[in-house]
Symmetry: C2
Subunit: 255 residues, 2 copies
């Protein structure tokens, strides 16, 4: 089994070597800019670790993993636009629309989504791409709730954050050929992990759940979600040690 850090390195090198459609021309510069800069790559790492736990070579799930990171990056590029969150920085660097202009950022986001689907369609089983696209639609629905001041925080986060976490696991299971009837505990695990990620995010950013439950209350919710995630892993008859490592890392992360 490879460690989470080894899987992250695999994702980074695959992102670096990735070929984009030649018809995108120089737009690819803005796309690569949006993808660089050292995100945590949590979604693709989760995808690869799930695939390996489910008994398939991580390399077999690599296109799915990279596709997830492209969708995540697309969502950040569009979220950062002036009409949406109007964020001028992302991970300490100028956000894509500041660096490349707003028009290029809109098109770069569109193209990142398109390239993600193209990668997901390299599998002969269209289930991989279906999983990605349905999750992306849910994520967009979550972004819509976010800009319309929705009151249901749990639903907002289930869509905006949770759907891509579930897709990370679902795409790995599809790539590994795990039959639908055996996917339930894996998928429940993914939902808890998405919730855990969001809770800790809100603790670090002092917003979202923290505004409702306070820091201590949100910390408690995060620990409970982490425990449920571990319990679900214990039900799965497979070596889920790397997934446990990922849960532990999310509970204690500080950035």
């Amino acid at each position: 089994m490879r460690t989470a850090e080894e899987l992250r390195a695999l994702v980074e090198s695959s992102l670096m070597d990735m070929k984009l459609s030649p018809e995108l021309g120089e737009l690819s510069g803005a796309m690569r800019y949006a993808l660089a800069g050292g995100g945590k790559r949590i979604r693709p790492v989760l995808c690869l670790a799930t695939a390996e736990a489910a008994g398939c070579e991580p390399e077999r799930a690599l296109a799915a993993a990279v596709a997830l990171e492209l969708v995540h990056s697309f969502s950040l590029v569009h979220d950062d636009l002036p009409a949406l969150d109007d964020d001028v920085e992302r991970r300490g660097q100028p956000s894509t629309h500041i660096q490349w202009g707003e028009a290029v950022a809109i098109l770069a986001g569109d193209a990142l989504f398109g390239e993600a689907v193209r990668l997901a369609l390299t599998y002969s089983d269209p289930a991989v791409a279906r999983e990605l696209v349905e999750a992306t639609l849910g994520m967009i629905g979550g972004q819509y709730l976010d800009i319309t001041a929705a009151s249901d925080l749990a639903e907002l986060h289930r869509l905006k954050t949770g759907r891509l976490f579930t897709a990370a696991v679902g795409m790995a299971l599809a790539a590994a050929g795990v039959p639908r009837a055996k996917q339930a505990p894996w998928r429940l695990f993914a939902e808890e992990l998405g919730l855990l990620f969001q809770l800790v995010d809100d603790i670090l950013d002092r917003d979202g759940y923290v505004l409702v439950h306070g820091v201590e209350g949100t910390r408690k919710l995060a620990e409970e979600a982490g425990q449920r995630a571990k319990d679900l892993l214990a039900e799965i008859p497979a070596d889920t040690s790397v997934l446990e490592e990922i849960v532990a890392g999310l509970v204690t992360r500080t950035s």
Copy 2:
């Protein structure tokens, strides 16, 4: 064989009845707004007519046809944004970002693209979705050339307009199960049709090719492209009468 007008009615009713992902919530209002308003539906009609000429029921190609119109609509919504073409009207109505705000228009465009792919993925053969996504990437590359003042007008239009015309034919052939080895004349026909469409568009808008070749010169180029399209249809051993009707309609269209 159904006429082009009958096929257009089929597209309209399918767009009207289309179910969108429930997770999009009220964002679907802006998406339906962008899809309404009586466009020519030339891409989906071309897709259905090609499918029927290739020997399959048009209904079998309907999901592919609607997917094409969704991608076209997505491209218009994003193109109309202030950072791109800054168009406040579309077909005599306020453009989507004027009616719904810029943030919602960005997300509605994203979601139209996502729903298009979801529809294309209802086919068991992933070739239908692959064709759509690769064409969409080409189209985005064309939009990028358009905003960066590219000098190669033919390449710009091959990407921005032509790629979706080729996809309309390619998706129909995939849905109809026409083997790749027999697709060449169909695909060449689609390229000529895309060029013809763009030439006439430029005559009507007095831009693009007209700025280089004048109205008379562009009219001559359009007639030549129309003739080549008809010659290619004559090579195809099938009843291509409705496709001929589409060519004739494009040559003489006035709006």
